[in-house]
Amino acid sequence: MQASSQTQYQGTKIKLYHTLPDRILLACVWILLMAIAVVILVPVLFILASSFSDAKAVSAGKVFLWPVDFSLAGYRVIFESPNIVKGFLNSVAYTVVGTIVSVTLTLLAGYPLSRSDLKIRKPVMILFTITMFFSGGMIPTYMVVSRLHLIDSFWAMILPSAMGVWNVILIKTYIQSSIPLEIFESASIDGCSDWKYFINMVIPLAKPIIAVMVLLYAVGKWNDFFSALLYLNDTAKSPMQLILRNVLVTNDSSGMVMRLEEQMSRQELKTLMQYSLVVVSSLPVMLLYPFIQKYFVKGIMMGSIKG
């Protein structure tokens, strides 16, 4: 869109921003955007630089935007502490299984609802939509999870928030607008069943929206802290986010008694480790970021404009 409007401007051969007020405006806009860029980048660079610095330099507050006395000690501490590694692996498992379950459920709901010839489409749609505006709230949901004996189980992280109705609507809208029903009608004359059609035609054709779903759910599952806080007490099952909370926010220390100087260096190391932990726990999402950029924005626009 933007490219076409630019050529339009050039096509009309009117020089933009030639008056003084326009130039002032343009200058202000550039300054504003530069300021925004700085505000976003500085905290990130500070964390990165600190994570690669020496523990003493970090604890003395000497680090700004570049590592001081480069060291990997913070990362070594992380990879040597078994519960952090365990937490990371737990999170990977929750994310992988959770994404598969969520995407499957969303597709199973989205496809039938995209079929305008299905009798119960309207009532089911209403049933789904209501849940976007009303919910039982924290306590009643907790009680259901508890009644199902899911507390402290692997599935507590997967099931209670498995399907987002908004995503179902996204899938439904996408299929309706990009895969015409006529294809199914001609396929069904050739003896293709609903299920076969779904597997062999709909899924391959819906790949772009499925990619968006995978990213949405995967990022959501990786970042999920709420479910763990509510439903998991067993620390062996803690995901990364919960461990991160304990280390960063509540400053939980393992409470070992040591000589003073050892304690000093231990304290410094712990401070350093907090920075490395932030980096490590954001790494998977950052690795997904190029894909997010490719599919995500499109997905949001599809949802917001058509939905």
Binding site: Q2, Q8, T19, R115, K119, L127, S193, V249
Partner: protein, 309 residues
């Protein structure tokens, strides 16, 4: 074609017979919705009962509005409601216009490489988890080793204990939120600005309107329907201030301003096991929320603007 013609003649039973596979597909999602959405909605009934685990939901005795009265006569209630409202309205005022300003700024500089870069940069923080965000905030604002205080110190100012002072909590909460979501929220406005009617732009150029005029007469009107919808949604979620982030940012010092309804529900319900009372408080919260959403939508309809439903 044939199928759509026959559609109206079929009864439900015939439809199920012919499309049983589709019905089967819907089974799991419907089970999910029932288990994790509708049964909890039914569970709200414990707000009106004296719930005990032994007796179950059905067997627990009916107490009517006891817990609501208990909440309204609670000295904490006014403070909780006030904190919730102040944080969320402050958040609305700060985070509503910023994405529009960002989108307009990016629109003004036009299709350069810098614009693409800025877009990718600004919506990246959205994907950071709440825990990491709070971690970054704590680290950057740390009294002794945070970069903000290092810079203040370097410039000759006094260090500030940001997390230790009650008065800073709301600002930190709201502006770190702006930091995280502005770029993401701007996406939808940027998309809308890409669809601005070109003939209007040309007409305004010929009329000699300067850039600021053109924003007022061309771009802002183009954004108006989306702004309205976003505003309705934002007002409708006023009472839904993120539990997670407030909970994570709470410490003993800032509790007087940081205790909001949802964190209170969590503590009273899951920590103190007062299920019925906490559910009543939660229900009150959702009710206020829904009334706000409904009113905002009504007002918008009245002015002939866009409506949600």
């Amino acid at each position: 074609m044939e199928a759509s013609k026959n559609k109206k003649k079929w009864g439900l039973r015939e439809d199920i017979q012919r499309r049983w596979q589709l019905y089967l597909m819907l089974l799991l999602p419907l089970l999910y919705i029932t288990l994790f959405c509708y049964i909890p909605m039914g569970g709200i009934v414990i707000a009106f009962k004296n719930y005990s685990f032994r007796k179950g939901i059905m067997g627990s005795e009916w107490v009517g509005l006891k817990y609501f009265i208990q909440f309204f006569t609670n000295p904490d209630m006014a403070r909780l409601l006030r904190n919730t409202l102040i944080i969320s309205i402050y958040q609305l005022i700060a985070s509503f216009p910023t994405p529009i300003i960002l989108a307009l700024a990016l629109h003004i500089i036009g299709g350069t490489r810098f614009k693409k870069f800025m877009q990718s940069l600004t919506y990246a923080p959205y994907f950071i988890s709440t825990v990491v965000l709070v971690g970054i905030v704590l680290q950057c604002l740390h009294l002794n080793i945070g970069i903000v205080n290092s810079v203040l110190d370097f410039l000759g100012f006094d260090r500030v204990d940001f997390m230790g002072r009650v008065s800073y909590f709301r600002h930190i909460y709201v502006w770190s939120g702006v930091w995280q979501v502005t770029g993401y929220s701007a996406i939808i406005y940027i998309a809308a600005l890409g669809n601005v009617d070109q003939s209007l732009v040309e007409a305004s150029l010929i009329d000699g309107a300067n850039r600021l005029h053109r924003i007022r007469i061309v771009e802002l009107p183009a954004l108006k329907p989306i702004i309205t919808i976003q505003l309705i949604l934002a007002i409708g979620s006023i009472m839904g201030v993120g539990f997670e982030k407030v909970y994570l940012m709470q410490n003993n010092l800032n509790l007087p301003v940081s205790e909001i309804i949802s964190t209170y529900v969590f503590k009273r319900g899951l920590r103190d096991m007062q299920y019925s009372f906490a559910t009543a408080v939660g229900l009150f919260n959702s009710l206020v929320n829904f009334i706000l959403l409904f009113t905002a939508n009504k007002i918008s309809q009245k002015f002939g603007e866009t409506s949600l439903w």
